[in-house]
């Protein structure tokens, strides 16, 4: 008995001691405090400006946002693919056509990637392009007004992920489909006929060099795979474009497993100059396609949507030398070209190494016909023949690579949650820093250009967890800023981001700031319903439509008393902001409106449509605190029953004689 008790006591003691030892051996939680002079490096004193504009995709909010670096402060959200009740984007009559598609009005999308326009491979500060991942489209934002000027839909695409990457001189914006889809007359087909009926399409959108207007120049009919990301060649590889592909297994279900079977998928190299030659030789085929082209006109402050009906296509399986495949390990995601244009980095998201391809070797391999076979009629270059080398054991789950001006690359690793710095020439890993948590894209200012600005790298993370004060199950997104000016990367700043940022670019403030528009000139306002002075304010009836030509200036709306509207009427408030002073927008909202408010910038005209559903007197007011007497900037509109004989009248500042107006 006794020995039994002793044995038990001993056992408990051993277990306890073991627990203590085990606790002591537990690894500590990752250190997350930045060190040294980080605070002074990100501190922008009051009244001073950030060094960089950071143009960030909004992901599932469908917009672009503008931050400052190194402060990480959010300046603005530019509405692009999603309605924005805050300023009336997609609600005002002028902006509704911008969200028109071949599927009708689409109020939401998912904006993943940013491309800032370049000239000779360097940032020129003119436009920012963004892609719609869900209903395939590309948008162009003007960097003078930070306004979406154009949205072009893409036919024969199932999800525009591999977009909107641009060529060296912004000749083309590309759009590769993430989903291959059945196209043409044969779209009602069994999903299981994927290999036979599903096609992938890559669109090359030409950009007008002065106005920026976009047009689908041609589409390449490519095998039914998924296109993920892309980068243009530059310098010596200008004229080529590189796309990463996955699902070369051509699976149509449980892609998690079925698209991860092959050891290697492909980087697709496109010789677009060759494609241009074929088009010049009349080898393109015009194919019926329905897609919307929406353009915003700065002078009329109004957009129009045009439905296009055909697209020019090339079939690279027939027209040789446009496309080559390069094998790339394990479902490559990022496909990035270095500043010289010589190296193409493929990041297999399931790979444990990073292959770096050489453009020169690839050209030799094509010349020497070093092919390992064909895929859907397209030659596949031998892996070794195009390979510059592999970065060994860089981390787990490489996604994207950006570059600095000193020959270094920075690759994000989702699984091992880190940024790894390595040398493009020697392929040697130089440094690694953790990110919080699970980084997706990363961005070095000028990182995708021929002349990176360097200095910082920003991590756009996919998981936030404990980085900020918690706000319930739904959290803000997490970004980190690192200093890359030295040998070692240094964490400087954590900052929350809105939407769900994917890719972002940064550009020196001096390339944007001097061109930023302050007001729209009233004398250049060509809006058909503009009232360019209070004397032009009026109310007109056209059948069931009542058009109010309204003006707004500190601190009154003209007219601010309107009568004679009847039930069944559609009332259009065309509000012109008469201010010609910087940062004096006016807003307009009316009680019970089933849409939103409108914000009208100085010199601009914007229209809110209102359909009254009951009789009575409805208040309206200015929604943007414009002046000391902003709260006085309000008015009334009277709605009478259908068929009533209340005359149409309007005024501002007119005090009526009570005895005459009574009883009407």
């Amino acid at each position: 008995m006794k020995t039994n008790v002793l044995y038990r006591i001993l056992t408990v003691m051993v277990v306890f001691a073991g627990l203590v030892v085990w606790q002591g051996c537990k690894p500590k939680a990752p250190a997350s405090v930045s060190m040294g002079d980080a605070a002074t490096k990100t501190y922008v004193p009051p009244g001073k400006y950030d060094e960089f504009y950071n143009v960030v995709s909004g992901g599932f909010n469908g917009q672009m946002s503008i931050y400052g670096l190194p402060s990480g402060r959010l300046f603005r959200i530019i509405p692009v693919f999603s309605v924005f009740p805050e300023n009336g984007w997609g609600f005002s009559e002028e902006t509704k056509p911008m969200l028109n598609t071949s599927h009708g009005f689409v109020p939401w999308d998912d904006l993943h990637h940013i491309a800032l326009s370049t000239t000779k491979g360097e940032h020129d500060g003119r436009w920012a392009f963004g892609n719609a991942n869900n209903t395939p489209r590309v948008a162009r934002v003007d960097m003078k007004t930070f306004k979406t000027m154009e949205i072009l839909e893409l036919p024969n695409s199932g999800g525009n992920h591999s977009s909107p990457f641009i060529t060296e001189n912004t000749e083309y914006v590309v759009a590769g489909t993430r989903f291959s889809v059945p196209v043409g007359d044969k779209t009602d087909v069994p999903i299981s006929t994927f290999k036979e009926n599903f096609k992938g399409y890559i669109s090359f959108i030409s950009v007008d060099p002065t106005e920026g207007e976009m047009k689908i120049a041609f589409q390449l009919k490519t095998p039914g795979v998924s296109f993920d990301l892309a980068r243009a060649g530059k310098g010596k590889s200008h004229g080529w474009f590189f796309f990463s592909t996955y699902n070369t297994e051509q699976a149509y279900t449980l892609l998690e497993v079925n698209a991860s079977q092959k050891d290697k998928d492909f980087i697709m190299a496109v010789n677009w100059k060759k494609a241009e030659e074929y088009i010049a030789a009349g080898k393109g085929e015009k194919v019926k396609a329905k897609y919307a082209h929406n353009v915003y006109d700065e002078s009329s402050h109004t957009s129009t949507s045009e439905m296009m009906n055909e697209v020019l296509q090339l079939d690279p399986a027939v027209l040789k030398d446009i496309i080559y495949f390069i094998p790339c390990p394990k479902s490559p995601h990022g496909c990035d070209t270095d500043p010289t244009g010589e190296y193409i980095v493929g990041s297999g998201k399931l790979a444990a190494l990073i292959p770096v391809f050489s453009f020169t070797k690839m050209q030799q391999a094509i010349a020497n016909k070093e092919f390992e076979g064909e895929f859907a009629g397209i030659p596949v270059i031998k892996y070794e023949a195009a390979l510059h080398g592999e970065v060994k054991k860089p981390g787990l789950g490489p996604l994207h690579t950006e570059f600095d001006a000193n020959g270094n690359a920075y690759t994000s690793f989702f699984v091992s949650s880190e940024i790894v710095k390595w040398n493009v020439q020697t392929l040697e890993v130089l440094d690694r820093v953790p990110t919080y948590y699970s980084i997706g894209h990363l961005s070095v200012p000028g990182g995708p250009t021929a002349k990176p600005h360097g200095k910082y790298v920003v991590a756009y993370n996919k998981i936030t967890k404990d980085r900020y004060l918690p706000t319930g199950p739904e959290l803000t997104q997490s970004a980190q800023l690192y200093d890359i000016s030295g040998d070692k990367m240094k964490l400087l700043l954590d900052f929350p981001t809105t939407g769900e940022p994917h890719y972002a670019e940064s550009i020196p403030a001096e390339l944007i700031m001097p061109n930023s528009v302050k007001i729209f000139k009233l004398e250049e306002n060509k809006h058909p319903y503009a009232a360019l002075g209070e004397g032009q304010a009026k109310v007109e009836r056209k059948g069931n439509e009542v058009h109010v030509y309204m003006t707004a200036i500190r601190s009154h709306l003209t007219p601010d008393n309107i009568e004679g509207v009847k039930l069944g009427d559609d009332v259009y408030f065309h509000v012109t902001n008469l201010e010609q002073d910087w940062d004096v927008p006016h807003g307009f909202a009316i009680k019970g409106a089933n849409n939103a408010e409108i914000l009208i910038m100085p010199g601009e005209t914007s229209t809110l449509k209102w359909k009254p559903l009951s009789t009575g007197v409805f208040p309206f007011y200015c929604t943007d605190f414009c002046s000391a007497l902003h709260q006085e900037m309000q008015g009334y509109i009277r709605v009478s029953p259908a068929g009533s004989n209340v005359p149409l009248k309007f005024s501002t500042g007119k005090i009526e004689d009570q005895s005459s107006g009574a009883g009407q």
Binding site: I553, R554, S555, E579, Q580, D581, A628, L629, E632
Partner: protein, 192 residues
Amino acid sequence: MKALKPISRWLVALAAVLMVSAYFVPLWQILMWAPQYPEGLEMDIWINTITGDVKVISALNHYIGMKHIEVEMFPEFDYMVYIVGFLIGFGLLAALINRRFMLWAFCLLLVGTGIAALVDFWLWGYDYGHNLDPTAAINIPGMTYQPPLIGTKQLLNFTAFSGPDLGGWIFMGSGALLIGTLVFEIYSSRKK
């Protein structure tokens, strides 16, 4: 009467010719700053018009009942071109006639015109700052808003500055040149 020295004759002509600049550059400027206008607002007075942030200034001033500034408010803009033209012509004539009394006359004419212009500007400023709309939103008893004639003055949230612009400085330069020439003439003839 005494003839002028050749150098003086040239200086008189130069003073007259310099005044031609009045047709090409602004003569006077009014600058305003407020907490919400750190970049400042500017009003430039030319020989026949006013430019700059006139609309913005008018929009702000309507709260205290000041008149909307319009070019039509100023009859001066209709005849200032002729006055300056006359001055230039008179100066060239003085150089041509080449007598000291003409230099005296030109000097006095120019100074007299300058004083008259300032008096006229002050009178306008007095009316603009005092003659306020009684129904204005902001009415501070006893407060008037006459802009400074020359120099800086605080008016509610605005700091206002008034002073010569490039054309005004050239005008004053012409005046200084003439007075200098006159002094030189008198001094050098006494020496003899």
